[in-house]
């Protein structure tokens, strides 16, 4: 993926100093709770201004999911909506790629990898925006 002019599609993606995308999260320095995206205060322990920006990593496991057959107008279906627990802590939602949209092909706890693709693979108007997706673990 070329790095020039890449922009984050959602608040879950940030670009590092080499302009490479990563899954951005926050860690509460008071209670260690991890959150997807950036935030300022902790909803868990109520500490203020306690968040450290972190990389949520590239590996996780499938916590829950659904196969979506009816969505908003213009969104192509079916697709797998996944709730993923990251191996280093924290949970995040995402769309799965490289897996048939079929419950028989999905197992709770299955290892997943984070991949980054141009959001235009889902939304033709999103050229130049990078987003995170999950695939069955690439190195399993």
């Amino acid at each position: 993926m070329s790095s020039d002019a890449l922009k984050a599609a959602t608040q879950f993606v940030a670009l590092n100093e080499k302009s490479e995308p990563y899954l951005v999260g926050s860690r509460c320095e008071a209670c260690d709770q991890l959150f997807p995206g950036l935030r300022q205060h902790c909803a868990g322990c109520y500490s203020r201004d306690c968040m450290k920006q972190i990389d949520l990593g590239t590996h996780g496991s499938l916590y829950s999911y659904t196969v979506v057959h009816r969505s908003y107008k213009g969104v192509s279906v079916p697709f797998v909506s996944a709730v993923v627990d990251m191996d280093g802590g924290g949970s995040i939602k995402g769309t799965m790629l490289n897996v048939p949209p079929d419950p028989d092909e999905l197992t709770f706890g299955m290892p997943l990898s984070v991949v980054f693709r141009c959001a235009s693979c889902i939304n033709p108007e999103a050229e130049g925006y990078v987003s995170h997706f999950f695939t069955p673990a690439l190195d399993a």
């Binding site: 922009k7 984050a8 599609a9 959602t10 608040q11 879950f12 709770q33 959150f35 997807p36 995206g37 909803a43 868990g44 916590y63 829950s64 999911y65 659904t66 196969v67 979506v68 057959h69 009816r70 969505s71 908003y72 969104v75 192509s76 279906v77 697709f79 797998v80 909506s81 996944a82 709730v83 627990d85 949970s91 995040i92 939602k93 995402g94 769309t95 419950p103 709770f108 959001a119 889902i122 939304n123 108007e125 999103a126 925006y129 987003s131 995170h132």
Partner: protein
């Protein structure tokens, strides 16, 4: 103040699609029905709490139709818990001694099909399809799949919820759909978000429901003790922090919190409940809520359903009205509509779907975002 607050009037319109109605005109219809149910006029009402998710000032605009008495009006919105929140506001006002007679009304005009959320700040590209799904069927499907992960719940078991509630609806002339759906039909209908098929999703319809609440002194002076129903407990919770809450709304935790509070403040337990109207916005939710409302132990929800305990005639009938799955789900009205059902049951006026010797009933709604309201009502 009045420790004991009663529902003296409660009624709803049959939900449906009403092209020519507005939220205020729908609210007016239900309010007049509820007022007539207890022989009270709008001029007797000292405060109005109006629930609606789509518009503002519905309460005042309703009074502009049925009588501008100048009383305090507050408009509340709390997602699918909106109606129940308006009801609770009326309960609190009377309990606090601010007034003796209050009207709670919920109304909604709904768009057809899948509800579309506004794009969130911070996202350049809309999330739907890109970051999984945020549709209601998908959110509640993921809740069901979490239950499946923990307890092995099957698609067929979730589908049985629709079989039961649609069966109940055949006895409710006010249900939008009054048609039995055998298991094969539920499973064979269009898949919306696995495991929720179309017949496992509640329908977006227009509707309204209203309740008249009253202090003990006023209830007695009106001579209404025969048909009055005591509000034994009222609880409202927001979603407590749980680790996945930001990515997967934890509707279990918020329900557990509200249910515990209701049982505690009512001084009663789940064994005392004779019937429940709970928030079956999707079939997957009902089995989870059996456990959240302590109708059975964790993991026993599917067994409870399959045992027939939650069917009319069973130990703890759930959604004998047909539930949201059959009645339809006009967001702001839903929480008061289930109060109407329980009031009717406790008065022994529910006809073919009457739960025998119903003395105590529970209502439950959950609004995504999240809010949960639980009320316990008792025959006096």
């Amino acid at each position: 103040m009045s420790d004991r607050v009663y529902v003296i009037g409660a009624d709803m319109i049959r939900f449906g699609r009403f092209e020519d109605e507005t939220p205020p005109s729908l609210a007016a219809k239900a309010s007049l029905l509820a007022l007539d149910d207890c022989n009270v006029g709008i001029q007797d009402i000292q405060a109005v709490y109006s629930g609606n998710c789509g518009e503002t000032m519905v309460g005042q605009r309703m009074l502009q139709i049925i009588g501008q008495t100048g009383v305090p009006v507050a408009n509340v919105t709390n997602a699918c818990a909106t109606g129940a929140t308006a009801f609770r506001e009326a309960w609190m006002a009377i309990r606090a001694g601010v007034c003796d007679l209050a009207l709670a009304v919920g109304s909604e005009k709904m768009a057809k099909g899948v509800l579309v959320r506004k794009n969130r700040a911070g996202d350049a590209v809309p999330r739907e399809g890109l970051v999984g799904s945020e549709t209601m069927p998908a959110v509640f499907a993921e809740m069901g799949m979490e239950h499946a992960r923990r307890f092995g719940t099957t698609l067929e078991q979730f589908a049985m919820v629709s079989v039961k509630n649609h069966f109940h609806s055949t006895m409710n002339p006010k249900a939008m759909y009054q048609k039995e759906t055998p298991l094969e039909e539920v499973l064979g209908s269009e898949m919306i978000a696995y495991p929720n098929t179309k017949l496992m999703c509640s329908v977006n319809v227009d509707g309204s429901a209203a309740a008249v609440l009253c202090s003990e002194k006023k209830m007695k002076s009106l001579g209404l003790s025969k048909r009055a129903v005591l509000v034994k407990a009222s609880a409202l919770a927001s979603d407590p922090f749980t680790p996945r809450n930001t990515v997967m709304p934890d509707l279990n935790a918020v329900t557990q919190l509200a249910a515990n509070a209701a049982y505690e403040s009512g001084g009663i337990g789940p064994d005392d409940i004779d019937l429940v109207e709970l928030h079956d916005c999707f079939a997957t939710a009902e089995i989870c809520h059996y456990e959240n409302l302590q109708l059975c132990a964790a993991g026993e929800g599917a067994n409870l359903l399959q045992s027939g305990a939650t069917t009319l005639g069973g130990k703890i009938p759930v959604n004998v009205s047909g539930g949201l799955l059959s009645k339809g789900h006009p967001l702001g009205a839903t929480g008061i509509a289930n109060v109407c059902e329980v009031v009717m049951q406790l008065r022994g006026e529910a006809g073919a779907r009457q739960v025998e010797n119903a003395r105590v009933g529970m209502t439950h709604v959950v609004g995504l975002g999240s809010a949960c309201a639980v009320h316990i009502l008792e025959r006096i």
